[in-house]
Structure formats: structure tokens, C-alpha cells
Amino acid sequence: MRLTVNGTLHEVDVEERMPLLWVLRDELGITGPKYGCGIAQCGACTVHVDGEAMRSCQLPVADVWGDVTTIEGLGTPDAPHPVQAAWIEHQVAQCGYCQSGQIMAAAAFLARTPDPTDTDIDDALSGNLCRCGTYPRIRDAVRDAAERLRGG
């Protein structure tokens, strides 16, 4: 099976129903996407497929229809994506384990909704669980990232 992740083409020999998350983590060694629940309840595993935010724990690898972007492909420590830059600036993370998923969800959301209301933000990101309670800063960082992306 072929899979493009962060611009690199990979050939993987796995069961068709293996969730994308485990192909990324255990077959390709891409560990930015996290395992939190495995049942679509936490969002820690969120990646983009063709720009759309997907829960990779629920997506059989055979159903991946386009290029996959993980947090590692969104931006880097030296060149962070505007959403990541906002996350750094607001020091959102506590343990940080949910944040790959939060950031990927926020990036896809802002690409669709460049000028969100507070309710839009709450609705879009309430599926991403943070056990450490970083929500107040997630809100701030999303608002800030929206501005950065609009070139403000």
C-alpha cells in the first residue's frame, strides 16, 4: 500500500483495516499523532487528509484518500505554522499530550473558518479532550492564530 505523509511517499505492507494512527506510529515511526482513546472520543490522533481533520484512530489505512499531514508536517520548531506559533506564544501546553491533536484540529478549522466567533471555536474544538485543562489558552491561541493567518 502506498501512503504520502508530510510529502514523503511510503510503501507499507499492513492490513487494510489497520487504523492510520498505528501505521504512522508503529510502522513509520511518526509519533506526533497520539493514541488517547482509540474510539474517536479525544482527538489526540488528529491528522489532516487532504487538508481535512481526521481522527486517525478511526480511519482504516485503506480508506485514506489523499495526502496525510501530521503535526510534524504542519511546521517545525524552526519554522512553526502560525497555529503552532500562537500555541508557543500562549504557552498552551501542560503535559502537551493532547496538543498535537488540538493544533491539527485548529489548523484545519481556521483554514475553513478564517474569522471564527467564540462559539465557532468552542464548537469546533470541543471534541478534543485535554485532561490537563488547557482550554482557556486554547481559546486565546486559536483567536490569535486566526489573526496571524489573516495576516494581522
Binding site: 487504523p19 508503529d26 510534524e72 501546553a93 502537551g96 499530550y97 488547557t134
Partner: protein, 747 residues
């Protein structure tokens, strides 16, 4: 093996603190010194230093022995060293170092001692027995009790200062300039002519001279880092998916394993049939482990799939089959012979409660999972009489001992690498996963076994927060609270937890009454009695431990009495408050929330609570609105007294996180058991708070006290009772049982 471990093993020179091309510093002299862990191989008596600073030709490494579960402990520890060492946080690396008795947590023992009332009437020795059992276990390198900052505050700054002055001495020697004419800054010694000599160039020379000891610490007015907003050292990695957590760690040649455990918590595994699982793709082995079966495969998902196909015969759990029976056990524990402590007995409660008009109520708090978002994992490799462990843990020394026992090898033959942890809340004070990974690893010698629990196995086999029940009898007089008699029944969390480490726990368990007997309210007739219930489901320390249940019980009870007295919850607390630090905290939240005793209107209601826990008085005011869809939690104002706010950003973040943690669990979380099996095994059934439910949270840190305190736990206990009080203000319903979703809906 981590760099530090490797260096320690090979290259320490006998009789000095030199390492290959470098030098290690520390200043804390223990009364009974433990061997410096970076001096392995030295005679014990030769070690007077503990190492916190390691300078080599290319690197400055700060050793931060307390685990970072997400609370920013590494950054706080690094900042304390850097403050005196004169390095910037960008110039240094941190390494948790090898587990060692030299890093034992003195603050944890002092803290327990602090909160132990000596010679209390009914039961002597109070918590000292518990304390000693916990602390005397050789070298308690434990991260817990919000003690990291307090423990580190002097030690780490002293280490930094000693290193700085020794480096200056080395430069003085080399350049023939007196040490007091040298200065330091940004990782270099500066000569009088302005020439900068990087510390790393001085390492070899510094290693040859006697370290400068007993350096006076800088005055607060000179601090560059402490008290100022800092950027956490891990924030960029955590925002770019580049931080390696324990669950991400890869070791060459490793196999992926998972477990199928007896669904009944703690029950035995009898026979099992793994024929179907063994035939599945990628499965390498199916092996017995304590209470279950481990599947070893080439991929975690394949291991999890195969584990579900294992058939096994299970024994029963060692606790009652229904929750009714658990509650009945607590209810039956309110008897004279089960009294564990009565650390408070003021006025004359018995007489006052002869009168009419006694107010009575009963409160309940359920079992709770810690459920950090990272499921637990550990890598263990056993070979040639040695073992290596890679895991996130708050108890590295216990891990070392348990792995040694299971593998049948000496303690020193076990190396533990501390990994970054994706949350803990007390979960990583348990090490069953490491033990099971070791059981697998000894059956497959040479292969590193990475054992990862599925979320379902993790949540349903948690060592949960204690279940607890409280009973109030009280009375009011002349518009004031007059008598408060609170009995609290729970099993001993410390006995359950330490029992799993084979540590005896003599004496009463102060956690049974923590957060209730020690509150700063001078109710004239006041008694707090702890009743020790028999062991039920196995339990463990959950963020704020005893206070997590008792802060709710005490404040809820106080509120019932204040209401009966017709008084204002804030005014009456202020009137009763007999502790100046706690009073300031209450005054702060009253001011922040503009509390004036009047109902805010528009379907809104407010509640206030204060809990003194871990040496920190923390008060919260919560405002809710009753909406058509249920209760909406809108605003929270929090104030806490910690002596010194080391980093205002991390302080605010920890407080906000603690409030959300307290609220989320009070809203809708519980673990219940049916026939020993947890009824909740994933986040669909254990929701906590979501972003859309999150209130605005305003935070103020007070610095009036003279002791530095940690803030990881104190914001948790007041959240539930303040929420209950706010809901009462809106609905008139007294919530006496958590989670509140049993009685009210949340928007």
C-alpha cells in the same frame, strides 16, 4: 542508556567530582549523605555533594530529578539552578538523571510532618507512622504532594551558586586574578577586562579544584528569572509534535506488547487459550503475566487486536460485587472502634448537639480514575543479569527495586530512564505496568518489550481515588454557625497504595481527614473524626488525595449551616476565619468577583469555597447560570497563597488546570464496579470537561507567607463545593453527592 548514566558508569575519577572532560556540582550536604549517584563506585563516605549541574566541554546540563508530568517541573527546577549559575535557559539542557537516594524528597517529609498535630488527644502519633513508613523507604525520589518547588528552592539555587563560584575560582587560578574581581553572565566568567570565558572551557580546570561551598544566595531583588514570566523549556517541542513521551520511545529491536487483564480488578488469571491470538498476523508470543495475559507483537494495534481474542478463566475481585455494598461498608464504618483520628475537637460538640434543631446531612464522593491522556506504557529489557527500563514514573526507586526483584538481579543492575509523561494526576505513582513489562521481558530475554495498555485496560484497571462518605451534625445560633461535627469514612489510601509496595503503614492515615480537620475556621464547637473503613477496591493518590473528597465535604457542610443561620457564605467564612493568610485569600476572591452578598440575578448564582491543603489556602468563587439546556459554568475567580510565585505563567496555568480538573470530575465522572469490573473504560463514559463548558478563570497568586508552596493540587478541592454552592443558589437543590450529573444537567 542515558548520557548521564553512561558517564556515571565509566568516567568518574576517584576522589573528585570530575567527569570525562567536565565537572559535576552540587552543594546540598545531607546529615547522612547518600552516595552521589554520579560518583558510582566511590566509597559512600566520600560523597558530600549531590549533583545538579554537569559542565562538560560542549554542554551545560542541569539535573532535574523530579518528574515532569506536565506541571512544568523541569522548567521550574532549571530556572532555580540557572538563577544562581548565570546561564540562560537557552544555553542549558535538562536531564532527569539516574534515580538516586541523594535526590530524596525532603520537602515531602517536612510537609507531612508540618500537618501532623503532635499529641492529639484521641489517637496518638497521628500521621507520623504513615510518614515514616513512606519516607524511610530508602530514598523516596517521589514527585508528589505539590512539593517540587518547595523541595528544590534552596537546594537547586545553592547548587547553581556553588558551581558559579567554583568556575570563577578556576578562572581566577588560570588568569591569576582574584576571584572577587570576576563576574559571571550568560554562561561565562567575565574577566576584569571584559574577556568572556565560557563555562564549558573551564570545566576541566574546575574539576581539579575543591568546589566552593556555602555560597550566600542572592537576594530576591537580584533575581533575573524567579518571579518573572518564563517560557517553558519544553513548550516548542510540545507545540510541534517533537517531544518524545514514554509511549513514543523506540529502542532498537523492541517488540510491542499489550495485556488482557482480568476484567475484575485485581482478580487472578487461571487457565487461558491463546490459539486464535497466536495465529494472528504479527503476533510473536502470548505469555502469562500477573492477573492476565500479555500479547507480544510487531505493532501495538496488532497486539491489541490479538489480546481481544484470548480466552481466559478469571478469578473474582477481592471486594464487594455491588456499589450498594461499597456504600454500605462506608456507612457501617461510622463506629467508635473504627475511629482512626480525631485531630480536631473544639468547644463542646456533644453538649451542643443535645439541643433541638440539629442539622444533619450525608455526603458521598465516588471512585475516580486519574486517566491522564497518555495511556500508560513502559519498555523493559532484561539481559545478562541486568535490566533497563524506559518509563514515565514518579517513583523511580520503587521501579528499580521491583524490576530487580522480578528479574532476580541486584538493585544496582537496573537502570531507569525517566521519560516525559503525558499527564499523571497521581497515576504514575503506581508501577504495575513496569512490573508486568518485566514479567514479559524475563520470558523473552534480550528483547526490549514495550508494553502499552489500551485505554480500556488502563482505565478499567486504575487504582482509583478513594470512595468516601461524610456525615454532618451541626447547629446554628444567633445567625452564626455554632457547631460543626463532621465524620468522614473512607478506606486508607496510603495503606492501599503503600501495600502494593510492601511498605507497612502503622498508625492513623491523616488523608482520611486532610482538607477537613485542618481548615482555618474557628467554629466554636467543632469536631472532625476520621473513620477508617475496611479496604474495598484498591485505591491510590489522586490529585490532592484526601482533600479531593474532604474539601467538598467540609465546605458543603459549612454551607448548609451558614444557610440555616441565614448568613452570607463569604461573610460568615470571613467572620470564622482565624488564619491571616487564608483570610487574605478569601478577601482576594471577594474583591475579584465583586462579591457583595446580593444575588447576581438573570438566573445566575454564585458559590464560594476555601480549602487549605498542602500548606496552601485556596479560595474559589464560581458563577453559574441555569439555562434551558442545564447549568452553564460561566466564571471562576481563584486566589491562592503560595509564599512565592516562581513563574506567574506556569502558576496561572496550573491553577486553571486544577480548577478544570476539579470541576470536570465533580460534574460527571465516577468509576463504579459491578462484580469487580469497572463500568467505565473510556472517555465516552468518563467525560470530564470539554472546551465549550470551560468557564473564564481569573487567577491571583498571593505571596504573604514565608514558605514556598506548590500549586499543582490545592486548586482542585475547592472547585466542587464552590460549584455545588452556586448550583444551590440557582436551583435550590443541595448537591450532596458527586458527580453532580446524578442530579442536575450541565449545558
Amino acid at each position: 542508556m542515558g548520557r548521564i548514566g553512561r558517564i556515571a558508569r565509566r568516567s568518574f575519577l576517584i576522589g573528585s567530582v570530575a567527569v570525562a572532560g567536565g565537572v559535576a556540582f552540587g552543594t546540598w550536604r545531607y546529615r547522612t549523605p547518600y552516595a552521589n549517584p554520579l560518583h558510582e563506585g566511590l566509597p559512600t563516605g566520600a560523597a558530600a555533594l549531590t549533583p545538579y549541574v554537569l559542565i562538560e566541554s560542549g554542554n551545560i546540563t542541569l539535573i532535574t530529578p523530579r518528574a515532569d508530568k506536565g506541571q512544568g517541573a523541569y522548567s521550574a527546577q532549571a530556572a532555580l539552578i540557572a538563577e544562581e549559575l548565570d546561564v540562560t535557559l537557552e544555553q542549558i539542557r535538562v536531564d532527569p538523571g539516574p534515580p538516586s537516594r541523594a535526590y530524596w524528597n525532603t520537602a515531602l517529609s517536612e510537609m507531612v510532618a508540618d500537618f501532623t498535630a503532635p499529641g492529639d488527644g484521641l489517637i496518638n502519633s497521628a500521621a507520623h507512622g504513615t510518614l515514616d513508613a513512606m519516607m524511610k523507604f530508602a530514598g523516596m525520589q517521589i514527585t508528589g504532594g505539590s512539593t517540587t518547588v518547595a523541595d528544590s528552592f534552596t537546594k537547586l539555587r545553592a547548587a547553581g551558586a556553588s558551581a558559579r563560584e567554583t568556575l570563577k575560582a578556576a578562572a581566577a587560578e588560570r588568569h591569576g586574578v582574584p576571584r572577587d574581581r570576576l563576574s559571571t553572565g550568560e554562561g561565562a566568567v567575565v574577566l576584569p577586562d571584559g574577556t568572556r570565558i565560557p563555562y564549558t572551557d573551564l570545566a576541566a580546570q574546575a574539576a581539579r579544584i575543591e568546589p566552593v561551598q556555602d555560597v550566600p544566595l542572592r537576594a530576591p531583588s537580584e533575581w533575573r528569572l524567579i518571579g518573572k514570566p518564563m517560557q517553558r523549556i519544553d513548550i516548542i517541542a510540545k507545540s510541534t509534535g517533537t517531544l518524545t513521551y514514554g509511549i513514543d520511545r523506540e529502542v532498537p529491536g523492541m517488540a510491542h506488547a499489550t495485556v488482557l487483564l482480568n476484567p475484575a480488578q485485581g482478580g487472578a488469571r487461571h487457565g487461558f487459550d491463546a490459539s486464535e491470538a497466536r495465529a494472528m498476523r504479527g503476533v510473536k508470543a502470548v505469555l502469562p503475566v500477573t492477573g492476565g495475559v500479555a500479547v507480544v507483537a510487531d505493532n501495538t494495534w496488532r497486539a491489541i487486536q490479538a489480546a481481544r481474542r484470548v480466552q481466559a478463566e478469571w478469578g473474582e475481585a477481592a471486594f464487594p460485587p455491588t456499589m450498594e455494598a461499597h456504600w454500605q461498608t462506608l456507612s457501617d464504618a461510622f463506629t467508635e472502634d473504627r475511629i482512626d483520628s480525631r485531630k480536631r475537637d473544639d468547644g463542646n460538640v456533644a453538649d451542643r448537639l443535645q439541643n433541638n434543631g440539629i442539622i444533619e446531612a450525608e455526603y458521598r464522593a465516588p471512585y475516580l480514575a486519574h486517566a491522564p491522556l497518555e495511556p500508560i506504557s513502559a519498555i523493559v529489557q532484561v539481559n545478562d543479569g541486568g535490566a533497563e527500563v524506559w518509563t514515565g514514573t514518579q517513583i523511580p526507586r520503587f521501579v528499580q527495586g521491583n524490576v530487580a526483584d522480578i528479574a532476580g538481579i541486584p538493585f544496582e543492575a537496573v537502570t531507569v530512564h525517566a521519560e516525559y509523561i503525558g499527564g499523571s494526576f497521581g497515576h504514575r505513582l503506581e508501577d504495575e505496568i513496569v512490573r508486568r513489562a518485566t514479567e514479559v521481558a524475563v520470558q523473552l530475554p534480550g528483547t526490549p518489550i514495550k508494553l502499552t495498555y489500551s485505554r480500556e485496560e488502563d482505565m478499567s484497571h486504575e487504582f482509583t481515588r478513594q470512595i468516601a462518605m461524610a456525615r454532618l451534625r451541626g447547629s446554628v445560633r444567633d445567625g452564626q454557625v455554632d457547631t460543626l461535627d463532621l465524620g468522614i469514612a473512607m478506606p486508607s489510601v496510603i495503606a492501599s497504595q503503600m501495600g502494593r509496595q510492601d511498605q507497612p503503614v502503622p498508625g492513623p492515615d491523616s488523608e482520611i481527614v486532610a482538607g477537613a480537620w485542618d481548615q482555618p475556621f474557628a467554629v466554636p464547637n467543632q469536631r472532625v473524626t476520621g473513620y477508617r473503613a475496611p479496604e474495598l477496591a484498591p485505591i491510590s493518590s489522586w490529585r490532592s488525595v484526601g482533600a479531593s473528597t474532604n474539601g467538598f465535604f467540609y465546605n458543603a457542610a459549612l454551607d448548609e449551616l451558614i444557610h440555616a443561620a441565614g448568613a452570607d457564605p463569604m461573610e460568615e467564612r470571613l467572620r470564622l476565619c482565624d488564619d491571616p493568610l487564608a483570610r487574605k485569600v478569601l478577601e482576594a476572591v471577594a474583591e475579584m468577583s465583586a462579591w457583595d452578598g446580593t444575588a447576581p440575578g438573570d438566573g445566575r448564582g454564585r458559590g464560594v469555597a476555601l480549602t487549605y491543603s498542602f500548606g496552601v489556602p485556596c479560595a474559589e468563587v464560581i458563577e453559574v447560570t441555569g439555562t434551558g439546556r442545564g447549568i452553564s459554568i460561566d466564571k471562576v475567580w481563584v486566589a491562592a497563597e503560595v509564599g512565592l510565585v516562581v513563574d506567574p505563567i506556569n502558576f496561572r496555568n496550573l491553577v486553571q488546570g486544577g480548577v478544570i480538573f476539579g470541576l470536570g470530575h465533580a460534574m460527571n465522572c465516577e468509576i463504579t464496579y459491578t462484580d469487580g469490573v469497572a463500568d467505565q473504560n473510556n472517555f465516552h463514559a468518563y467525560e470530564g470537561m470539554r472546551l465549550r463548558q470551560c468557564p473564564e478563570i481569573s487567577v491571583r497568586g498571593l505571596e504573604n507567607g514565608d514558605k514556598i508552596r506548590g500549586i499543582g493540587e490545592p486548586p482542585v478541592p475547592p472547585a466542587a463545593p464552590a460549584l455545588a454552592a452556586a448550583i444551590f443558589a440557582v436551583t435550590g437543590t443541595r448537591l450532596r453527592e458527586m458527580p453532580f450529573s446524578r442530579q442536575v444537567a450541565f449545558a
